[in-house]
Amino acid sequence: MLKRLLTSREMLLFGAVAALCALIATRFPGFVAPGNLLRVFNDTSPLILLAIGQMIVILTRCIDLSVAANLALSGMCVAMLNVAYPDLPIPVIIAVAVGLGTLMGMFNGILVWKLAIPPIVVTLGTLTIYRGIIFLVSDGNWVNSHEMSAAFKAFPRAEVLGLPVLGWTAILAIVVFGLVMTRTTLGRAFYAVGGNPHAATYTGLNVGRSQFWAFTISGALAGLTGYLWVSRYAVAYVDIAGGFELDVVAACVIGGVSIAGGIGTVGGAVLGALFLGVIKNALPVVNISPFWQMAISGAAIIIAVALNARATREKGRIILKSAEKPA
C-alpha cells in the first residue's frame, strides 16, 4: 500500500514542493522553520479540503465549479444562524454547514445524473444560483466579527499539539478520504467509472449514481469548509472565496489528477494544494508582487499538465509480445 501511495507522480510532486521550499529558504531561512511550515499547512487547509472533493468529481469525468459558491452560501447561513442563536453549540453549527453543503452537492449530482446535463454547465449554473441565494438571505449585508459568538470564532483556531483545528480537519479529511478511495467499493467505483464509463456500465456499476456521490462528497466538504472559512476570517459576505474554485481545480491538475478522468489520488490533490499554498505564502515574504503569484501558479498548471500528458503518451502501444512486461 505504501508503495502505491508513493508512486512516482506523487514523489515527483513532493520533490517539487520540497525544492520550492529549499529555494525560498535561500532567500528567507525562516520560511522552513517548523512553526512556519505548520502555519502554511494550516493556511492551505481550506484548499486541501476542497481539492479532495474536486479530485473525486474530476475522477468521474465531471467538474464542480460551484464549490466556492457552496462554501460561501453554507458559511453565510451558519454565520447568520450564529447571530440569531448565539448559544447553538458548535457541533450543531458544523452539522448544519455540512448538511447544507451536502444538499447543494446533491442538487448538482441529481442534475448530472437524472437530466444528463454536462457537469460544467450544471455547476456554472448552480455557481450563480448559490451566489444569488447568498444575496437573498443576507440582503447583501455583511456578518462581521463582533456579531459572531466567541465560541463560533474560536473553534478553527483552537490549537491541539501546536496545530489549529482547521489544520487537523484537513488531516482528518486526508485520512478518511485516503481510505475511502483505496479501501472501499465506493472509491473503486469512482476510479472505474472515470477510467472507462462503458466498461463500468457493463460490470454493473451505475455511472450516474457514482457521479452523484462524487458531487455529494464535494458539496459536503465545501459546506464544512464554509463554516471553517467564515469563522476563521470572522466575516461573511456575498463574494467570499470568489474565484476560489479555480484554485481548487488548479490544485487537482497540478496534483496529477487527469482531467480526462480515472486517474488521481488524494495524496496528489493534497500536494497540488500545498504547492499552490507554498507559492502563495512564500512570494510575499521574498518580495515578489502578487501579480507574479498568479503568473507562477498559471505556469505551474501548464507545466503539470504537460508533464502528465507526456507521462501517459510515452507508453505508446504495445505491439510486440516481447515488449510486454516480463512474466
Binding site: R183, Y191, N196, A200, G262, I319, L320, K321, K325
Partner: protein, 504 residues
C-alpha cells in the same frame, strides 16, 4: 522460408518499402520490412494482429515516419513528412474505422481538405457537388451529395469513405479491412469496385483477415509476422494452409475443438421478448452445457437482444426465466446477480479499464464477494484475481500492474477472467473472435468448449459461418430484428444459414 524466390519482379513497383524500420519506445513495430505495390494489381498484406500491418498503413499515409529504410515511388526514394505529402504523391487510404464527419454533407466529407476553390479561396460548391456525384456514380453508389452523413447507414458511409479516397487523383489505394462492417451483398459490390480500380491501373494494398477475400481478389501476397517480413509471392501459387503457416510460423489446424455436448437442465427461457424499435417475437431456451449460436447479418438485432437481456436497454414486452424462476433484469447489476453475464464485442472500449491494475479489473463485477460492509478485502481480491487469471493462463509480472501495460491479447484474457470470476450460469459472448489472430481464435474456441463442458450455458453471437457451425449445438438465425430460423443437427449448413439470414 518459402516463397522468397517468387518475388514479382516483372515490373517496377509504383510504391515500395525497402528495409523500413519503425520503433516506438521499447518496441520495434517494424523490423526492416519490404513491400511492393504494382499498377493494376492487388497486393494482400497478411499477418496476425500485431504483425505491423497498421503501422505500414500509417507510414504509407504519412502519419508515422520510418526510423530506417526507404519509401520509393516509381523507384525514387521519397519521404512523406505529413499526410498531405502522401496524398500529393497519389496515396489514399480507406481505413478500418472510417474517419468521417457526421455533421457534414456527403460532398463535404468527400472533399474535406481538398475542396475545389474559386477566387479568394472560397469553396466552389457547384463544382464540388458535381464532382462528388460523378465519383459516387463511378462506384455505383446512389447517394445525394447534399445528404448529411449522419442520416446514412454504415454501409453507405463506407461508400462515402471510398469515394473520398478516390476523390484525389490516387495511384495507390490502401484498403484496411474494408469488409469488416459490410454485409454479404455489400462485400460483393466492394469486390466489383476493386475490379474497376484495377482496370483503371491503380495499385491496391488490401489488408484483410478473411482468407476467402484474399484468394478471391488479390494478385500478390506479402506476409508479416511480429513486425518482420516473412515472404511474398503470387496468390495463385500458394494455398490457404501454406499462407497460414507463414503467418503464424507454425501449423494451425483450422478445425474446431471436438466436443461431446452434455446438455443438461434448462437454465434460461426467453418468451415473447420484444423491444419498441429493435427486435420482436424472440423465443428461445438455453440449457446447461450448451453452446447456442446466434447468426445473422450485421444489424439483424442479435447484439440488441443480448444487451436487453443484460439490462443495458429496456425491452417493451416478454418474460425471462432463469432456472425456472421468473426474473426481471433492469440493470447489468441485476443480470450479474442472476448469473447472466455479457462479454461485449468491443472488449477494448467496453471491457478494459486500462488505468486500473489487473486485479481491480478482475474483481470489479464481483466486489460484493470481495468486500464487507463497503470495505474492500484486498487479500480476497488478489486471491480471486489470481485464481481466474491463472485459469486463463495469463502471464503478467504482477497482478498489481496497470492493465494498460499489457498487450491487447492479454487484456482480453483479463476481461474474460473478470466475467468468469462472477461465477455465472449463463455467459453471452458477442463476436468472441472478431479481429483477433488465428492462434488466439483457436484458444478462444477451446476455452468456450471447456466452459460448456463445465456446465455453463453459452450464447455465442457470431457473424462467421465456420465459427457458428463449428462451435454451436444449435443456431438461431436472426433477420431484421426477428428470429428467422432455429436450426440444429443436419440442418446446420452454410447454405441454410445464409438463406435464412438474407431472407431468400
Amino acid at each position: 522460408m518459402p516463397a522468397l524466390a517468387t518475388t514479382p519482379a516483372d515490373a517496377t513497383p509504383v510504391l515500395a518499402l525497402d528495409r523500413v524500420t519503425k520503433t516506438f519506445p521499447g518496441v520495434t513495430a517494424l523490423d526492416e520490412v519490404k513491400l511492393g505495390l504494382y499498377p493494376g494489381e492487388v497486393t494482400a498484406l497478411v499477418g496476425e494482429n500485431g504483425a505491423g500491418k497498421s503501422t505500414v498503413v500509417k507510414i504509407l499515409t504519412g502519419i508515422y515516419q520510418p526510423d530506417g529504410g526507404e519509401i520509393r515511388i516509381d523507384g525514387e526514394a521519397t519521404r512523406f513528412p505529413t499526410p498531405r505529402d502522401a496524398t500529393a504523391a497519389g496515396i489514399t487510404a480507406i481505413h478500418q474505422e472510417t474517419v468521417l464527419f457526421d455533421e457534414l454533407s456527403v460532398a463535404e466529407n468527400i472533399f474535406l481538405g481538398h475542396a475545389p476553390r474559386r477566387t479568394f479561396g472560397l469553396i466552389d460548391w457547384t463544382v464540388m457537388e458535381t464532382r462528388a456525384r460523378e465519383i459516387l456514380e463511378s462506384i455505383g453508389a446512389k447517394l445525394d451529395p447534399r445528404t448529411k452523413l449522419r442520416e446514412l447507414g454504415i454501409a453507405s458511409k463506407h461508400l462515402v469513405a471510398i469515394a473520398r479516397a478516390l476523390s484525389v487523383d490516387a495511384r495507390v489505394v490502401i484498403m484496411d479491412e474494408p469488409t469488416a462492417a459490410l454485409s454479404h451483398t455489400e462485400i460483393h459490390e466492394l469486390y466489383e469496385l476493386v475490379e474497376k480500380l484495377k482496370a483503371q491501373g491503380k495499385a491496391i494494398l488490401f489488408i484483410s483477415h478473411k482468407f476467402d477475400e484474399i484468394f478471391r481478389i488479390a494478385d500478390h501476397y506479402t506476409v508479416f509476422r511480429d513486425g518482420q517480413f516473412v515472404g511474398e509471392g503470387h496468390v495463385s501459387e500458394i494455398d490457404e494452409a501454406a499462407l497460414v503457416t507463414m503467418m503464424v510460423g507454425r501449423d494451425v489446424s483450422a478445425v474446431f475443438p471436438d466436443r461431446e455436448a452434455r446438455i443438461g437442465e434448462e437454465v434460461l427461457r426467453v418468451t415473447d421478448y420484444a423491444h419498441p424499435t429493435e427486435f420482436a417475437d424472440i423465443n428461445f431456451d438455453l440449457h446447461q452445457g450448451e453452446i447456442l449460436g446466434f447468426y445473422g447479418l450485421v444489424g439483424a438485432g442479435r447484439s440488441e437482444v443480448m444487451q436487453a437481456l443484460f439490462g443495458i436497454t429496456k425491452p417493451s414486452a416478454g418474460q425471462i426465466h432463469i432456472d425456472g424462476q421468473p426474473v426481471t433484469l433492469n440493470s447489468p447489476a441485476d443480470a450479474i446477480a442472476a448469473g447472466l453475464v455479457y462479454v461485449p464485442e468491443d472488449r477494448g472500449k467496453q471491457g478494459a479499464i486500462t488505468a486500473l491494475p489487473i486485479f481491480q479489473n478482475v474483481t470489479l463485477p464481483s466486489l460484493g464477494r470481495t468486500s464487507r460492509g463497503g470495505f474492500l478485502r484486498m487479500a480476497r481480491e488478489f486471491d480471486l484475481a489470481r485464481e481466474y487469471t491463472r485459469r486463463l493462463d495469463l502471464r503478467a509480472a504482477s497482478l498489481d500492474t496497470e492493465l494498460g501495460t499489457l498487450s491487447g491479447g492479454n487484456q482480453q484474457k483479463v476481461v474474460i477472467a473478470k466475467w468468469l470470476a462472477t461465477q455465472p450460469k449463463i455467459i453471452i459472448l458477442d463476436e468472441p473472435t472478431k479481429g483477433i489472430d488465428i492462434g488466439s481464435k483457436a484458444a478462444v474456441h477451446a476455452f468456450m468448449a471447456e466452459l460448456a463442458a463445465q456446465g455453463l450455458a453459452v450464447i455465442m453471437v457470431s457473424s462467421e459461418i465456420p465459427e457458428v457451425l463449428g462451435m454451436s449445438d444449435r443456431v438461431i438465425v436472426m433477420r431484421e430484428g426477428r428470429m428467422a430460423a432455429e436450426l440444429s443437427g443436419a440442418k446446420m449448413t452454410p447454405e441454410t444459414l445464409v438463406r435464412h439470414a438474407a431472407g431468400i
